[in-house]
Symmetry: C2
Subunit: 353 residues, 2 copies
């Protein structure tokens, strides 16, 4: 079976253009031990959605899995591969913090309560800008993470794309020195503007397309940035390069999410090379599955739905990403060139846009 | 004060040869808000011990801190710098898992109980090999982490240097396919050999100096490696390069600790460049302060003691490291050349050897 699976991996790679390994297929088969729902198979496998979708079709054709109504199941042959190799896993994730290592209660009851209320009335995610936001508890957990590392109190903070309303959560803590937001969607900047006024704190707001260079007054000014870009190399370079260009010097911090659902580990490596060679920033933290996203309304319009082998909705939170933290070091470099004619939402791996 | 601190950072850097930033000094001052013990200041600051030791002397000379018997305290001027800049942090670390994101209870009572017993009678850490091991719960947490990602069940696992007895903890789970250990200290290999026989599982043991190349039968054979090297670039390249050389192919995993106490973030960056450019492996996880070490007997013999501005013992767990996980990708490369004449325990940043 090993040889057959290696051949299947090769076929999937030819079809999708995404590096596919024996271990990718093993990860998918093992995920099928835990769930029968396509979207959760994607989450648990840690493999790119497009790769999982195509692999499942080939695995079905070769009798490792079978499609049963809404459900995807291991066949006898699939079960035999797993048991004859004794492979498997048990998640030992902490149930208190769901593996994030961070809790939000020390932010204070008021901050938590107010932010949940603010979140209730927020504009919904739209496809035009590849939106899709995290649960409000996760936005708060990001703020708690930033506060744990000294990146909020007395700091100037820039949010690049604020679908997750991080600026408002930070604003509620009242400990930041300055907060600025660059966001393309006027629905969001209007909402952020209104809420910050209601609660009595200042946020400097720019409604603009990040493919344009950042305006001069934002460059070399901030201590901390936060962003959550689409996972094409272009978008990563754009959002994180802009973030770095906005930092005022060495040992400033950047936070961002990076999913494996829209990016293979091969793409992760290319991006890590950009971070360490081109931008000369160090990666201080990578916290797996830190970010859990609320399902967006356009799920049946996105590319991932088209390739899904079975058209059934997710049965639980399926879209997750790892939280990165970086720090600038001597001779670091950002990226502020225009990228106006580029489509930053499309490559062979991106499925959620 | 800002200009003065920038000047102090420059002086510390000239003295120590370690990149020193305004933020390094801020991190030290902020740590003094939480503790008066030198070793805990090192831990909380996240800065290299040698840098912290030297900085404290300069900060005292310039009246930001004062030495009061066994205690190191912020002076009025130090407090004023912090409060006038509004900087600070609050740790939001999950109290259930202490920020690791992983719990050990699902390993089973027997595994936990047996391993604690095994740990009670283990050989103590000695300076000759820069030993210093983690608390037994941490060794178990490492195993739980590896199990969460499918890197133990049915897998061939190599431990390079097993001061932490990871091989025995994995052995107790009885789910690995093969376990091998390469370790220089005969006291440890004898102990591992005896215990594995007592508990009825096999561990393949090599008592050898890792500066020699790995023997042929260990190359290209394993699914997973685990190591916890000293933080000189030479030792990192040696231990992790050997580990990668022992892996059988693409999408295999490596686990190791990396501290900031013996390594500046600048050294972290150099090492991340080696990982991503030279070894072509991707970093999938960096979990801060995952590893907490038990104080070793030779603390007052090590370099860090000599440079400490105050000769008082730690008042709590002070030595910590981040847990890394990497995966091999296409065209990855290990390192198995001899490094026999090199001193792998010494550079300007290493303080714990």
């Amino acid at each position: 079976m090993r040889e057959e699976l290696i051949r299947i991996a090769k076929e999937v790679e030819e079809k999708t253009g995404i590096p596919t390994y024996l271990r990718s297929l093993e990860n998918i088969l093992l995920a099928l031990n835990k769930t029968n729902n396509f979207w959760l198979i994607v989450r648990y496998s840690g493999e790119p959605l497009n790769l999982v979708a195509e692999s499942l079709k080939y695995l079905a054709k070769n009798n490792y899995v079978l499609f049963d109504g809404d459900k995807i199941k291991l066949s006898t042959k699939g079960i035999e591969y797993i048991s004859s190799n004794f492979i498997g896993y048990e998640k030992h994730t902490c149930t208190s913090c769901r593996g994030r290592g961070i809790t939000i209660d020390r932010l204070g009851d008021d901050v938590v309560k107010d932010f949940l209320k603010i979140h209730d009335n927020r504009p919904k995610a739209i496809q035009e800008y590849d939106q899709g936001y995290v649960a409000p508890e996760i936005t708060l957990a990001r703020v708690a993470l930033m506060d744990s590392y000294g990146d909020i109190r007395g700091r100037r903070i820039l949010i690049l794309g604020d679908d997750d309303l991080v600026s408002l959560a930070i604003g509620l803590t009242k400990v930041a020195r300055e907060i600025a937001v660059v966001e393309i969607d006027k629905r969001l900047t209007d909402y952020i503007n209104k809420i910050s006024k209601d609660y009595g704190f200042d946020i400097e707001i720019y409604t603009m397309d990040l493919r344009k260079p950042l305006p001069k007054e934002l460059l070399g000014r901030f201590d901390t940035f936060q962003t959550d870009p689409p996972e094409t190399i272009k978008a990563l370079k754009l959002f994180i390069g802009r973030g770095i260009a906005a930092l005022h010097g060495e040992r400033c911090a950047g936070y961002f999410g990076l999913t494996r659902i829209d990016a293979s580990l091969d793409k992760w490596l290319r991006f890590q090379q950009i971070l360490t060679n081109e931008f000369r920033v160090v990666i201080t933290d990578i916290i797996r599955d830190f970010n859990e996203y609320i399902d967006w309304d356009y799920i049946d319009q996105m590319h991932g739905w088209k390739v899904a082998p079975i058209k059934a909705k997710p049965t639980g939170i399926w879209f997750v990403s790892s939280q990165y933290r970086i720090e600038t070091l001597r001779d670091f470099k950002g990226f502020n060139k225009p990228m106006l004619d580029e489509d930053i939402y499309v490559d062979e791996e991106l499925a959620s846009a």
